[in-house]
Symmetry: none
Amino acid sequence: MAEARATEGDKRERILQAAIRVFAKKGFYATKVSEIAKAASVADGTIYLYFQNKEAILVSVFDDRMKALLALLERISSSQRTSEEKVQRIMELQLGLLEEERDLAEVVTVNLRQSSTFLKQYAAPLFRRYLELMADVVAAGQRDGSFRKDLNPRVVARSLFGGLDGIALTWALGAEPPEEPSPVLLRKAASQFSALFLAGLRAGAELGAEAK
Amino acid sequence: MAEARATEGDKRERILQAAIRVFAKKGFYATKVSEIAKAASVADGTIYLYFQNKEAILVSVFDDRMKALLALLERISSSQRTSEEKVQRIMELQLGLLEEERDLAEVVTVNLRQSSTFLKQYAAPLFRRYLELMADVVAAGQRDGSFRKDLNPRVVARSLFGGLDGIALTWALGAEPPEEPSPVLLRKAASQFSALFLAGLRAGAELGAEAK
Amino acid sequence: MAEARATEGDKRERILQAAIRVFAKKGFYATKVSEIAKAASVADGTIYLYFQNKEAILVSVFDDRMKALLALLERISSSQRTSEEKVQRIMELQLGLLEEERDLAEVVTVNLRQSSTFLKQYAAPLFRRYLELMADVVAAGQRDGSFRKDLNPRVVARSLFGGLDGIALTWALGAEPPEEPSPVLLRKAASQFSALFLAGLRAGAELGAEAK
Amino acid sequence: MAEARATEGDKRERILQAAIRVFAKKGFYATKVSEIAKAASVADGTIYLYFQNKEAILVSVFDDRMKALLALLERISSSQRTSEEKVQRIMELQLGLLEEERDLAEVVTVNLRQSSTFLKQYAAPLFRRYLELMADVVAAGQRDGSFRKDLNPRVVARSLFGGLDGIALTWALGAEPPEEPSPVLLRKAASQFSALFLAGLRAGAELGAEAK
DNA sequence: CATGAATGAGCATTCATTCAT
DNA sequence: TATGAATGAATGCTCATTCAT
């Protein structure tokens, strides 16, 4: 009976996992509900016992993971680390997600952009919250004197997110030959991005710039 | 006769412009070919005199603009400016594209990711070329002593592209309330990103970093 | 449950029967899939659960009946009858098919010729096999002394098939006024054709011909 | 000017010739009007200066040749030859048509059956007339004592037409391997069919048949 | 007469969703 | 709950035909 319940509870999760796999491989629109069903070893109709419609699956994928990510981000934000360490932890978090679950990352970064309606209505608030938490960390760093104060924390957050996403995107699309998309290279790239980004963000970095 | 030719040349362009508008508003998959036709004031069938199929329209949008962008990038790269000025010109170029044609930007950054097959097969090489040109500028800056030498130019290029794209994305998705998506804000954000990025990239920036 | 299975089995058959009716009435190309669906009292999409596409329906009509026909022909061929009786049974078989299912006959003889690609690739082998079985019966008759030996059995088979098809065609097209396309007339025509054909085929018939 | 008129007069003929070629290769429905135009080196619109619509082209092909055929048939019918010679001339005529213009033959025998509406409304009368002329020759042979009198001339005509068509069809479809569709084989088959058919038709042939 | 770009009605096919079992 | 056969609305694309030049 515990078995049965576990199986039942699993079913929603199994569908979700299958969806991540198939969405990542074929894209949201090109994915047929029946393909998800097959990948989850479930009947087509069963999907609709757990999700209202196809888009709701994508929403759930995003929702589940994004909430987990936000929770982690909040924990980082409120931890006792230095601001710079926090930023580095955030980078590791966002890219670590990739390394562990490349399919999920592709779904979140690529597929999510497919339904602009959905993106704007549902994902945007969560995404905004993610950026705000990043911005909070930056702002705190400005207050404690770690980071330069002449930059809008929100712009910094967007740059951070965008830079990481850009690295992730090129990595996911397949590395530029002759490189290969190995976790090693991703970590190398991440560490260089970190060096670039933090050097620009540190207090004192603004002094070198006289122009513009 | 000049009229006639102009009209003919216009028709393809009119369809392209209409497609950019509709793709931006509704997304690639949600856009019906008949909608593009209506927006371009042509018959449905006329579309197929100029484009092989719906996807080919998206390809053309990307292709036309990307090639123009690459040409500009090459001119910047081979100009007599300093390396730092070149990087700034690149930023202006990529974001300026947005300011002028917000719909186009949304199509290129958002819709293009919808057909992963297409993205990987067609867009990736052009995109890669774009990144390579950026990397060349960075590498030149490293050689002439303007930029720190401990960073892989390609990683820097991806960070630059990603950061700009992130800023563009959040801008295109609608600014974070109560801000509004004004060109002014975009330019402000761009200037701050520039300050952040160049400060991290300048020769000497690596000295502040002792860790990792 | 027996009910359910019967219904399921029926559905494919129902579509096939409906297709025969509509193809016969309007021709293959002029027939819309939705018309077949309506005639079979199924939804349009249901058709595609049983057939890959419109042409596959035509193939199935041909295939199902042709295989049945070939089986009957083989039984006739290997029976204990005299060669002449066998030929007469073949004639009855081919024309009897018509009498019972005029629509089917029209589909097989007329519509099948519409997709030359299909005809050549799919139907030709089955058709050839049909002719070969006929030729075998003729050849056997030549060996047992019933039929004249100076004719190529294959040519005889083609003549037999063609003659029957010609009679069927004119019958199916509507009899020549003021006659009407009655089974009676078909049977009369068949019996006369039989008399004509067998008289020409019998051993000894070649003696009367001195010319050419 | 004579040149010009010749060219102009040619244009209709050129379209017709092109249509025969393309119809024979791809079938009536699968042939695009633009393909005929291209094959005739004419603009698409030009076709409609000479023919009301696509079907009218097929009608014209049929009409032109059929009328010529009927004229020849009438000449044979009213000639001074013996009845048996007349039948042989008819066979040669129908099959000779094939040998000389295989494309045309395929159009007439195969494609014409595609539009059953058309076939019934337009071609049937001409076809009937063709059969009637054949039947007249047979009837005349019965009266002059050449042919057996127990067969309906119309049925004989249909058998004759059908047999020839069957031979033509199998020949056009490609001979049964390893034979090849050579004119030689067609003539051989024709001569055998002639021997078979005339032996069955000759006065006296009915005597051998006691049954039915 | 000739052209061929433009038209738009028409149709096969797909696939998310439902529902009887 | 689970199934998967059935549904039918939705749409990309074709191509015969027209007509301004």
